[in-house]
Subunit: 396 residues, 2 copies
Amino acid sequence: MTALPVKQRFNLPDGMIYLDGNSLGPLPRTVPDRLASMVGHEWGEHLIKGWNVDDWMAQPVAVADRIGRLIGAPEGTVVLGDTLSIKVHQALSAALAMRPGRRVILSDSGNFPTDLYMAEGLIRQLDKGHELRVVDPEAVAGAITEEVAAVMLTHVDYRTGRMHDMDAITRLAHEAGAVMIWDLAHSAGAVPVDVTACGAEFAVGCTYKYLNGGPGAPAFIQVHPDIVDDVEPALSGWLGHDAPFAFEPHYRPASGIERMRVGTPPIIQIAALDEALKVWDDIDINDVRAASIALCETFIAEVEARCPDLTLASPRDAAMRGSQVSFAFEHGYAAMQALIARNVIGDFRSPDIMRFGFTPLYIDEDDVRGAVDVLADVLDRSLWDDPAYRARGRVT
Amino acid sequence: MTALPVKQRFNLPDGMIYLDGNSLGPLPRTVPDRLASMVGHEWGEHLIKGWNVDDWMAQPVAVADRIGRLIGAPEGTVVLGDTLSIKVHQALSAALAMRPGRRVILSDSGNFPTDLYMAEGLIRQLDKGHELRVVDPEAVAGAITEEVAAVMLTHVDYRTGRMHDMDAITRLAHEAGAVMIWDLAHSAGAVPVDVTACGAEFAVGCTYKYLNGGPGAPAFIQVHPDIVDDVEPALSGWLGHDAPFAFEPHYRPASGIERMRVGTPPIIQIAALDEALKVWDDIDINDVRAASIALCETFIAEVEARCPDLTLASPRDAAMRGSQVSFAFEHGYAAMQALIARNVIGDFRSPDIMRFGFTPLYIDEDDVRGAVDVLADVLDRSLWDDPAYRARGRVT
């Protein structure tokens, strides 16, 4: 296993401290050559034959196996395609069909909005009186009752980094007879996950954050091997058919995870993602986790020592936290704009959250200290506490 | 307007006659540089800021306007994303919600299987007793009754090239109170289409065929401006929300076509497509149509003169035919393999269809005659009619 960081594997602009890999990962250095080859050689010279000679057709499962290794999924149980929103729809639609006598989808207020929106859309579409019950993250365990058809949660909260206990909640869901769906958007490549040990029916995620697949990289879905052949795909596209090129008049799902494919896969995006995932070939996710905790602890200690106006919005216990740290600050939007202007890149989430992602593949302790130096300087120079300045209204 | 062909705008391998642009268009020459710039400069240097400074967020509608101009859609009424299968689901789900008292989806046996499969999946998912009624293409007009909630057809048949009369069928659908959905997969960039004159509620299509967007390029959907704000999106993802970055707890659809967006758009694929669509900047689709008819007529005449074992499977009347010509032949699979081995690329569709696409952007009369020379030679050399050879079984 290689020691971290492996900064030389990424294109990191000079002088930039990039703490937003939890939103969009940076460009792995070998991706441009791979794309040039994929486009120039495969598409340009093989044209339609690329589907066979370059194995384009097999890639949604073959490339997904690289993600499977990071989340504890057996080979051939993960497939790439579409967006995370679509994968949520697929999982949730299948889950409700598996529990026809139940009407509650349980989620929490820490879930990313698109997961909740997709549930609302599905409920309207089905028009069978389902209810989306959204509770506080701390109240989830107590809300898992026998009314619940599906528990749908994001493992790591996009705003605060608060992390659910996947194994414990999945156990509670199963004890209550509910189906478990985990969204691993902020987990895959960030923290060790073992979907096999957890035993959830469905896991979904995206690949442009900690997996560095590039803007709009495809999503993934994993279905537990014990149930996948009983799943009736609602989005029954031709590439999930058992024999897509037989052009049969009726849909027959493929066996295994292939049935969760829908339409033609985004081959150019998949080539970029495949190349980006090679970064992980000699990396141990446990080393990433250990380094991430060290970086986050340093950041919290330094910010609390030097920036007293900021309030930690993430769990203080590292074991309860993903690979990001958030601070609440009344003028968080303006402060983040000032940071970005000085090339320290984090992001802001309404109403007052300053969010910093720590990605040990390319971030080290010097970056953390450098970021805090700029943050402290931005706050020192600011006039937010000057009544004359404040009277002029919100800093934008 | 520029005269056709514009072969120099494409990467066409030496010696290849490519008659499969109806399946996957060839690489436009400027796409590799555009991708290198998008990836190296936008993603590599701007990282997360690309969503703003490079206008990634606006591209699904901005780039789709280039397609809108080819299909007669007003500016800002088309959006890119997902796959054609997903766009079919969106259109059909919305159409059924618009006609809650009706239970029939009418389609025809010439529709591409994924459209039929997606309808089957939606019907199972809704579980309200809808029926997918599939009739012969010639029987569609007579089957549009007041039971029909939605008429869902592909304009140009993927196997035979037979073309429906969009205006006439849409009028019949509307007279019967049904919603009209057109799949333009084999039309956009191939034949003149005017969705505004036609007045259909929904049009969907793909961009990797005649629009040359590359393998897995995103699909598009157009919704008639008169109804789009009444459409309740079933796939209610965050990027179709009125204020995605407000992270509100409930879904509120954006106004206009933006509500048909779902998740994060595939920015790398969209960059390739945007560049590919620039090929059309100085091209008149009516010139493309005229040239396509001339090429198809030459091909039919030459094949019928020199290859008597082949039977025309496309309409003989050019006005009834898209931009492809198909011939039925008992040994079509083997004959197509032999053609491909000699660098004349068409494709085979079960059970016996040899399919040839004519794309006047890069195909000329010399290519057509060259292809027929090889086809005639392949057929002359074949032993299919030799009983001793046939006894050995199917040629593969």
